[in-house]
Each structure stands twice: as structure tokens, then as C-alpha cells.
């Protein structure tokens, strides 16, 4: 019998397993120790593994992310937690100019086996400095692997293979998924290369990742009630992007909507859209559509924040409109 588990529990179990399996693994970041993690992911781990390996840091994102890179170079397998996605901008220099570039810049002499985890996304009324989605920015950078676990399976199974990757891996945990609960079928490692078909359907393909997955699944349910069968793809791995799964789906459904929480202009959805146009243009029966976040710094007030995010209703409406378009 499988027990009910939350996304947060799954992440914690993955951390515990990594710390048990490999003495070189340590977790460092702001309030990961005594406080238990700002989203309580690392709660209890300090008692189990001690302050050396569950290491509280000062408020120095640039410093401790850079130190994580150095520690990785020096033979450790650090997991660096950044409290929230907006704070990662303070460490962007080290992530882009050093972690991502070092292997190439050194002619392959050095590599950076670093894992960075951070909470991402809106939905908690935390306003314009704690709520954004910058996954696409990181996915722009060669040398990084970018993961967006949206399922319990991925929350549990992505960390260990990420630690085994000799190059830097960024894991985006959506703050609204921490309380997601369900049955975890298997506690094993998952692959870090493929997108996953979360729901099969014949009429159109909804492509998404992160917290937009449950919303998109909900939209697909609503569409099914109207007789529209949507296929849903959970991208999971934003870099390198699994084009094959997307194109294979489109060869059958011939219609695509990309659902992304982040801003539309220059966003990750634009990249997915461009790849579809490059690789599957002649398979399409209708233009690729995007349902994205409103182009506004995320506001505090609940109704405004909610209005800034793709809703089930907007996804459903976009799907209906797309199905309504006849092929030539």
C-alpha cells in the first residue's frame, strides 16, 4: 500500500536519501537549518545530519551560490537552496558567468556538479518581489540543466540524478505545489531528459510545466466534458528541451497551446512555439497559441494576482477557440 505524501515530503525524502547515500552532499542556504527551510522542505534535517551538512548561510545569495560552485569544484556535491526565485537574481552572475560557463571556458578541464533549488511562482499574495517565474531565463543559458518538477514522482525522483549530473542543475519548485498531496507510486530516480505525457488526447495538445500543470489538467477535464480531448504534456525538463515528445503529439493533434505562468514577451512559451513552427509547421491545422501570465509585476491583492495568472477558464477558452478554427 502506498502512503499519501505531499510534494514537500517528497522533496524532503529526496534530500534525506541524497544526504544518506553520499557523504559529499550538503544542503546550504538561508534558513535551511534551524528554521527548517522557509517552505519547511528541510525541516528536521539539521537534527539528522548536523550543521556542517545542513548549513545555514548569511543573506548572501551571490556569495553562497558562488561558494556552492567552488565547493562543487573542490569535490563536494552541494545542494544550494535559494529562498525564492526573485532572490536568484542576486546570484545570477555566479550562475551564468561561472557555473554555466566554467566547463567550456576551461576547455573541459573543470565541471561544476552543483544543484540549485529554489521556490518559484505566484499564488501566495507575496507581490512583485517574491512571485515571479524566471525558469525561461535560466533555460536560455547553455551549460545549465533546468528542471521543473510538477508531480510527486518528479519531486521525489529528480534530485538524485541531478546530483549525479556532472554539470550544474537548477530545480524550480513551485511554491503552490508544496502542499500537493497524493500517492507516490515509486520512490526511484526519474529521467532528466524527457517530457511526460500527463494526459492523452486526440484533439489538441496543451504544453505546460510547473504549477500550470494542475491547472491545465483541470482545463483538460472541463474540455472533456464538452467532448474535446486534450493531450497534456508536462515538459518537466526545460533545458535540454525534449522536442520529440512535443512534435510526436502534434503529429496527431495538429493543434498546440502553450500554458506558462511567466510573462508572454520573450518567455519560454515563445521558445516552444518557435520550435513547433520550425519543426511541425506543416502538421498544424491552426496557429500555435499561448496562454501566459499578464505582463505586470505580480500585484498583492488576491483578485489582481489571480487575474495576472493563466486560469482554467482562460485555458479552456483558448482551447475552444482553437478547436473552432477549421483547417484550410
Amino acid at each position: 500500500m502506498t502512503a499519501t505524501i505531499t510534494y514537500r515530503d517528497a522533496l524532503r525524502d529526496a534530500l534525506r536519501e541524497a544526504l544518506q547515500r553520499d557523504a559529499r552532499v550538503l544542503l546550504m542556504g538561508e534558513d535551511v537549518g534551524k528554521y527548517g527551510g522557509s517552505y519547511a522542505v528541510s525541516k528536521g534535517l539539521l537534527d539528522e545530519f548536523g550543521p556542517e551538512r545542513i548549513r545555514d548561510t548569511p543573506l548572501s545569495e551571490l556569495g553562497f551560490v558562488g561558494a556552492g560552485i567552488g565547493a562543487a569544484l573542490g569535490g563536494l556535491r552541494p545542494i544550494v537552496e535559494i529562498m525564492t526565485v526573485n532572490f536568484s537574481l542576486l546570484a545570477l552572475d555566479q550562475l551564468v558567468n561561472t557555473a554555466a560557463a566554467l566547463r567550456h571556458m576551461s576547455g573541459g578541464q573543470f565541471h561544476v556538479p552543483l544543484v540549485v533549488r529554489m521556490a518559484t511562482g505566484a499564488g501566495r499574495q507575496l507581490a512583485a518581489q517574491h512571485s515571479h517565474s524566471f525558469e525561461g531565463w535560466f533555460a536560455h543559458v547553455p551549460g545549465l540543466r533546468v528542471l521543473a518538477p510538477a508531480s510527486l514522482q518528479d519531486a521525489r525522483g529528480m534530485l538524485w540524478p541531478a546530483l549525479e549530473d556532472p554539470d550544474p542543475v537548477i530545480i524550480f519548485e513551485h511554491a503552490q505545489l508544496y502542499n500537493l498531496s497524493g500517492q507516490l507510486e515509486e520512490a526511484g530516480s526519474v529521467d532528466l531528459t524527457h517530457a511526460r505525457t500527463a494526459r492523452s488526447g486526440r484533439d489538441l495538445t496543451l504544453i505546460t510545466f510547473g504549477r500550470m500543470l494542475p491547472r491545465t489538467m483541470e482545463a483538460a477535464q472541463a474540455l472533456a466534458a464538452e467532448g474535446i480531448e486534450a493531450e497534456v504534456i508536462d515538459l518537466r525538463v526545460l533545458r535540454p528541451l525534449d522536442d520529440t515528445t512535443i512534435m510526436r503529439s502534434l503529429a496527431r493533434t495538429r493543434r498546440a497551446i502553450i500554458v506558462e505562468e511567466a510573462w508572454r514577451s520573450g518567455g519560454f512559451a515563445a521558445e516552444v512555439s518557435a520550435r513547433i513552427l520550425e519543426q511541425a509547421f506543416f502538421e498544424l491545422d491552426a496557429p500555435v497559441q499561448r496562454v501566459c501570465g499578464a505582463e505586470v509585476p505580480i500585484p498583492y491583492a488576491r483578485q489582481l494576482e489571480e487575474a495576472a495568472l493563466p486560469s482554467v477558464a482562460r485555458i479552456v477558452a483558448a482551447a475552444r477557440a482553437l478547436i473552432g478554427q477549421q483547417s484550410a
Binding site: R24, L26, E52, T57, P58, S60, L62, G63, F64, V65, G66, A67, G68, I69, G70, A71, A72, L73, G74, G75, L76, P78, D93, Q94, N97, T98, L102, R103, H104, M105, S106, G107, G108, Q109, F110, H111, P142, G143, R145, D165, P166, D167, L192, T193, P240
Partner: protein, 332 residues
């Protein structure tokens, strides 16, 4: 062993010769690089270290093979003295496969795993967190090793400096912070860019032991580095040393040097680390003009050989453009 008595640390005539040799190698190598830049053989940015040679030579002579070195984009000298061959450095600047980074890095990004040389970092202050992390790994893995981290006084205005000093002091990490204070952050003088110009006071505010020495005096540099490295190695946490030095050449090959008077440059040149040291050695009868000529010849051969090697080294095929972006074993 002939002890050189008047200096604060006892060292031999052989060591004195090694110090001269190190500084001369950097000087002649970089003079050649500047000429090759003029000929278009080297492109991109080229930041010369000429005038500051005593710092790299004095500090690196105080380190051991197992220590780590993190440097800046003005690092040809450090790379040479650390043991990356003149061939590999020159070929790197030529952008060839024989370069230490196969032509991926160029002048600003020299790396070498064999000598534990971690760059070649061209974001000012960017190397400091890296050094902190390397030292953290050593501390946690129980390896007794010093990580020497070079940076300029300009880096001390960066947040990375403050975050790194705090972390290193807080966790008592074995880092030797080496500030090469050449007075100018590119073209901006220290007093025009930092409210506190006493650099030791800045470092000391993190409760890191500090010292400041004449960076034009290779013996003083070496003595300070020996003492500071020993303290770090004994597990006492980080140390900070300011080396007061001066860059004789422009910031880079694009710099018209409008920001400093020629007289100032000339005054500092009179204190040049190479000739002042050899003059002192000669005055004491420890070194002769013939010794110097021998070294000159040796260095000339080394530099010519490096240039020949670089010229002959094949360029990387553009088919290998994507090489070393990700580790091949990682599915990418």
C-alpha cells in the same frame, strides 16, 4: 645554501635567482604578447601585469603544489609562475587547440587542473566566492590546503568581496585573500571610487587578520605571503594581505590612459620590482650582470619557443564548437 641575510626571511641565493627569473619571465612574456597583439596574432582583451610582477612571484613562491589558486583576468603572470607552460598560455591567447583551454578562454580565462589554477575570472570579484567554496570543500573533506585568491582593489567595491570575506571569516575557511592594489579600477582611482581607502580596515571589519606590504618589493611580498599562508594552513581561518603595486602599462590594449599623469607612471617605474631587486642583489654581490644575461637568454628562448608552438598549434575545428558545453556523459 647562501643565506641572503638582510632580508626578513631567510632564503637562499637560488631562491633569489628564482624570484628574478619569475619576474623576468612575466615581463618578457607580456612584452612579446603586446607585440603579438599589435600584429593581430592575439585579439580580444589583453591586460598586462607589467609592473606588478613581484606580487604574483612573491605569493606563488610561498605556496605549495597542493594549494589552490584563483586569479583575475590580469593573470598571465600568475599562470606562468604557477606552472602553466608559456606554450599553453601563448597558444591559448592565439586561440589554438594547444592552449590550456583549447582556445575557449583566451587571455582572460586561463585555467589548469594540473596546477589547481581556477582562472582566469573576468567578472571583477567573481573569483572570491569561488575561492570560499574551494576552501569550504577542503575544510569539510579534511584536506589541509590554502586557497590563494587574487583580486584588485576595485573588487573591494563589489558585493562579492563583502559576502566572501564574511563567509570565509564566519566559517574559518582556509583562504588567503591577496589584494593587488594598483590604485586604479580600470581608469578610476581608489579615492574616486571607495569611501574607505584603507583597504585593510575594510577586510579587518570582518575580523580577518590583515597586513599591508610594498608590492614592488618581491622580498616583502614573499615574506608576507609566507607568514599569511602559514597562518591559513594552521587552520586559523582566512588572512588578507594588501600588496601596494602599480600597473606600468595601460589597463588593456584599448586604454588611452587619460586618467593618470605620465609623471606618476614614471615615478612608479623607478620603483620597478625587477630592477630594484636585481640592483639590491648585485650590491650585495649575490647576483651579477652575467647572471642576469643568462636568465635573459633562457627567458628569451622560452618565449620564442612558446610563440613558435602557438603559431604551429592547429586551430579547433568549428565542428567542435559545442565541445565542452556540457559533460558528454550527461545526456544533453
Amino acid at each position: 645554501m647562501t643565506p641572503v641575510g638582510i632580508y626578513p626571511v631567510p632564503f637562499t641565493a637560488a631562491e633569489a635567482r628564482a624570484l628574478v627569473h619569475g619576474m623576468l619571465r612575466i615581463r618578457r612574456f607580456e612584452e612579446a604578447a603586446a607585440e603579438l597583439y599589435g600584429l593581430g596574432k592575439i585579439r580580444g582583451f589583453l591586460h598586462l601585469y607589467i609592473g606588478e610582477e613581484a606580487v604574483a612571484v612573491g605569493v606563488l613562491r610561498a605556496l605549495r603544489a597542493e594549494d589552490n589558486v584563483v586569479a583575475t583576468y590580469r593573470e598571465h603572470g600568475h599562470a606562468l609562475v604557477r606552472g602553466i607552460t608559456a606554450r599553453a598560455i601563448m597558444a591559448e591567447m592565439f586561440g589554438r587547440t594547444g592552449g590550456c583551454c583549447r582556445g575557449r578562454g583566451g587571455s582572460m580565462h586561463l585555467f589548469d587542473a594540473a596546477t589547481r589554477f581556477y582562472g582566469g575570472n573576468a567578472i571583477v570579484g567573481g573569483g572570491l566566492p569561488l575561492a570560499v567554496g574551494l576552501a569550504l570543500a577542503d575544510q569539510m573533506l579534511g584536506v589541509r590546503r590554502v586557497t590563494a585568491c587574487f583580486f584588485g582593489e576595485g573588487a573591494m567595491a563589489e558585493g562579492a568581496f563583502h559576502e566572501s570575506l564574511n563567509l570565509a571569516a564566519l566559517w574559518k575557511l582556509p583562504v588567503l585573500f591577496c589584494c593587488e592594489n594598483n590604485g586604479y579600477a580600470m581608469g578610476t582611482a581608489l579615492e574616486r571610487s571607495e569611501s574607505q581607502t584603507d583597504l585593510c580596515a575594510k577586510a579587518a571589519s570582518y575580523r580577518v587578520p590583515v597586513r599591508s606590504v610594498d608590492g614592488m618589493d618581491v622580498v616583502a611580498v614573499r615574506a608576507a605571503a609566507v607568514a599569511a599562508a602559514a597562518a591559513v594552513r594552521e587552520g586559523g581561518g582566512p588572512q588578507f594581505v594588501e600588496f601596494k603595486t602599480y600597473r606600468f602599462r595601460a589597463h588593456s590594449m584599448f586604454d588611452p590612459e587619460l586618467y593618470r599623469p605620465k609623471e606618476e607612471v614614471e615615478l612608479w617605474k623607478q620603483r620597478g620590482p625587477l630592477h630594484t631587486f636585481t640592483d639590491r642583489l648585485k650590491a650585495q654581490g649575490l647576483f651579477t650582470e652575467a647572471d642576469f644575461e643568462t636568465l635573459e637568454l633562457e627567458v628569451k628562448k622560452e618565449v620564442e619557443d612558446a610563440i613558435g608552438y602557438a603559431e604551429a598549434s592547429p586551430p579547433e575545428s568549428v565542428e567542435d564548437l559545442y565541445r565542452d558545453v556540457c559533460t558528454p556523459t550527461a545526456s544533453a
